[in-house]
C-alpha cells in the first residue's frame, strides 16, 4: 500500500444558490481543487463524486459521467458514490483505496448537493428516506426527530443539559461568521435564543428536546480534493502535502431501537479506533477536529465516542471553552455543519478541506489553530449507522 496525500482542495460558498445547478456546484469546486493542486491542464486518472439526492431532487442520475464531460477530464474513470450524509467521506475513502493500491495515481474527489431547490417540507422527506422503509419512515420520523429521541436518552444518561447544547450552537455560529464559505453567517445572542421571553419565538422547539438552533441548515454547496501518492506529491505541488494518515469506517443497526444501548454510537467509536490505529496516533495527538454536528448533541456525543473527552464530559468541556480556538481540542472552527451548512453529499469532503487548510496553516488567525499538525474528521451517516473517520497529518518539509 502506498501513502496517499491530499495535494489540492477547493470549496464554493455554501448556502442557498438558486442560480446554480448541481452540476455548476460540482464543477466549480472541482476546478478550484484541480487548480489548487497545480495540475493545470493535466487530467486525473479517476473521479469520485459524492451525492445523495441528485436522483430524487434534480431527477438526474449518473452524475459523475456528466461531470467528467463538463470538466474535460475524459476518459478518466468516474463514478458516483451514494452513502447518505456520509457520501462525502465515502467518496474520499474510495479514492484513497484506489491510489493506495496503485491502481490510480491522481484522483479527484468531489461532493455536492443542491437541496434548496425543493421546499423544506420536501427536503425533510428526502433526508428521511434513509430511515427504515417499514419500521420508521411511514410514521413520519425525520432525522431531527431521531436526534430528538437520542438527545432525550443522552440527557437522561449523562446529564447533558440545554446549556451544553447551547454552547455548541453559540461557538459554531460564531465561527461561521468568520468563515466566508459558511451558509449561516449570523452570530447568536444567548438571551435571544435561550434565557429571555423572546427565546420561545426565536428558537422554537423543533424535535424536543432539540430547538431550531440545535439543527444545521438545509444547504446547497460543494467541496473537492485532489489526491495522489505521497512520493509524487512534492513533484506536483509546492504546497505542504497533507497525508491521509488514518482512515476508519464502521456500520451499526439501521434502527435505533435495535441497539442494545441507543446512546452508544458504536460506529463512531469503531471508525475512530481504526483510524487512530492506522495513523499510529491517539486522541491526544489531534490538534483540530471537524465533527458531524448536524445536531448540537452530536458534536458532544462524537467528541466523547472518539475519546477526546470521557463519556459524559463532552458537554462540560464545550461549556468550559475547551473546544474553542485556543482550547484543549478545538472542534468545528469552520462553524461545523451547524454554520458551514450541510449539503449532504458535500459535507464529508468539506470537513476534509477545512482540516487541510488548518494543517497548511492557511486560515486567518481568528480560525487557525497555531502550528496544527494533525487533524480528524467524523462524517456521520444515517443516524450513526454508517460512520467514517479520517486522520490527516501535515507532512514535514
Amino acid at each position: 500500500m502506498r501513502d496517499v496525500a491530499i495535494i489540492g482542495v477547493g470549496m464554493i460558498p455554501f448556502g442557498r444558490r438558486d442560480e446554480d445547478t448541481l452540476m455548476d456546484l460540482l464543477a466549480w469546486a472541482s476546478l478550484k481543487a484541480l487548480d489548487d493542486a497545480g495540475l493545470g491542464d493535466k487530467s486525473v486518472d479517476a473521479v469520485y463524486v459524492a451525492n445523495m439526492g441528485g436522483g430524487m431532487i434534480q431527477r438526474q442520475t449518473a452524475i459523475a459521467s456528466s461531470l467528467v464531460d463538463r470538466l474535460s477530464l475524459l476518459p478518466a474513470a468516474a463514478e458516483t458514490i451514494e452513502n447518505g450524509p456520509a457520501s462525502g467521506a465515502s467518496a474520499l475513502k474510495n479514492g484513497l483505496l484506489a491510489v493506495a493500491s496503485g491502481y490510480y495515481d491522481t484522483v479527484l474527489v468531489v461532493g455536492g448537493e443542491k437541496m434548496r431547490e425543493v421546499t423544506g417540507w420536501r427536503a425533510t422527506d428526502f433526508v428521511a428516506t434513509m430511515t427504515h422503509p417499514q419500521a420508521e419512515y411511514p410514521y413520519g420520523i425525520t432525522l431531527p426527530g431521531m436526534a430528538g429521541m437520542f438527545t432525550r436518552l443522552y440527557m437522561e444518561k449523562y446529564g447533558v443539559t440545554r446549556e451544553m447544547l447551547l454552547a455548541i450552537s453559540l461557538k459554531n455560529q460564531e465561527m461561521g461568521t468568520l468563515n466566508p464559505y459558511a451558509h449561516v453567517e449570523m452570530a447568536l445572542d444567548r438571551a435571544g435564543i435561550f434565557d429571555s421571553r423572546d427565546a420561545i419565538v426565536n428558537n422554537p422547539t423543533s424535535a424536543d428536546p432539540l430547538h431550531l438552533y440545535d439543527l444545521c441548515p438545509v444547504s446547497d454547496g460543494a467541496a473537492a480534493v485532489v489526491i495522489c501518492p505521497l512520493d509524487m506529491a512534492k513533484k506536483l505541488t509546492s504546497k505542504p502535502p497533507v497525508l491521509i494518515a488514518g482512515f476508519g469506517q464502521a456500520t451499526d443497526t439501521h434502527t435505533l431501537q435495535e441497539r442494545e444501548d441507543p446512546t452508544d454510537l458504536k460506529a463512531v467509536t469503531l471508525a475512530a479506533q481504526q483510524a487512530f490505529e492506522r495513523a499510529k496516533m491517539k486522541p491526544s495527538d489531534i490538534h483540530v477536529a471537524e465533527l458531524h454536528d448536524a445536531f448540537t448533541i452530536l458534536e458532544i456525543a462524537e467528541s466523547e465516542h472518539i475519546g477526546f473527552f470521557p463519556k459524559g464530559q463532552g458537554g462540560k468541556a464545550a461549556v468550559e471553552g475547551k473546544t474553542r480556538l485556543g482550547g484543549q481540542l478545538p472542534i468545528n472552527l469552520s462553524g461545523g455543519l451547524k454554520a458551514r451548512g450541510h449539503p449532504v453529499g458535500a459535507t464529508g469532503v468539506a470537513q476534509v478541506v477545512d482540516i487541510v487548510w488548518q494543517l497548511r496553516h492557511e486560515l486567518p488567525k481568528t480560525r487557525q489553530v497555531k502550528n496544527a499538525q494533525n487533524g480528524l474528521t467524523i462524517n456521520f451517516g444515517g443516524f450513526g449507522n454508517n460512520v467514517l473517520c479520517f486522520i490527516l497529518r501535515r507532512v514535514q518539509d
Binding site: 421546499t119 423544506g120 417540507w121 420536501r122 425533510t124 422527506d125 428521511a128 427504515h132 417499514q134 419500521a135 420508521e136 411511514p138 410514521y139 413520519g140 420520523i141 425525520t142 431531527p144 426527530g145 430528538g148 429521541m149 437520542f150 432525550r152 436518552l153 437522561e156 422554537p204 422547539t205 423543533s206 424535535a207 424536543d208 428536546p209 432539540l210 443497526t253 439501521h254 434502527t255 435505533l256 431501537q257 435495535e258 441507543p262
Partner: protein, 117 residues
C-alpha cells in the same frame, strides 16, 4: 388497506428477538426464525415532538416514540396525545393499529400508542 405488520423474528438458534426483519440473526447469523407477535402494553423508551414535518403530513406536529412491548418486541410508533399532554420515559402505553400516514392516496395503518390514564 396497507398495514405495517409489527412481526418480530426470534432466532431459532440463539433466541435473539429482532424487529424489523433481518435475513440473518444479528447475534449468531442464524437464518431461521420463529415469528413473534407483539404482546401486551408498551413501555415508552424515548419520544419526541416533531414540529418540522416531512412532505405528506398535513398537520402542525407529530409525536413519535419508541416503545417495548411486554414480550420484549421494540418498535417505533406515533403517540396519540395532544402536544400539551405530559409524557415520560418509562410510562405505560396502550398499542393500537390506526392510520399513521397516507401513501398513494391510501391510509397506511401502523402502531399508535396512547398513555394509560
Amino acid at each position: 388497506m396497507k398495514k405495517i405488520a409489527i412481526t418480530a423474528y426470534k432466532c431459532k438458534q440463539c433466541g435473539k428477538l429482532h424487529y424489523p426483519f433481518h435475513d440473518r440473526c444479528l447475534q449468531c447469523k442464524g437464518r431461521e426464525f420463529d415469528k413473534v407477535e407483539p404482546q401486551g402494553n408498551v413501555k415508552l423508551l424515548t419520544f419526541t415532538r416533531i414540529y418540522n414535518l416531512p412532505w405528506g403530513f398535513d398537520q402542525r406536529y407529530l409525536i413519535i416514540g419508541v416503545g417495548e412491548f411486554e414480550n420484549g418486541v421494540r418498535a417505533m410508533g406515533q403517540i396519540g396525545v395532544d402536544e400539551a399532554t405530559p409524557l415520560q420515559v418509562g410510562m405505560t402505553m396502550i398499542p393500537s393499529w390506526e392510520p399513521v400516514r397516507v401513501q398513494n392516496g391510501e391510509n397506511v395503518f401502523g402502531l399508535k400508542l396512547t398513555p394509560i390514564t
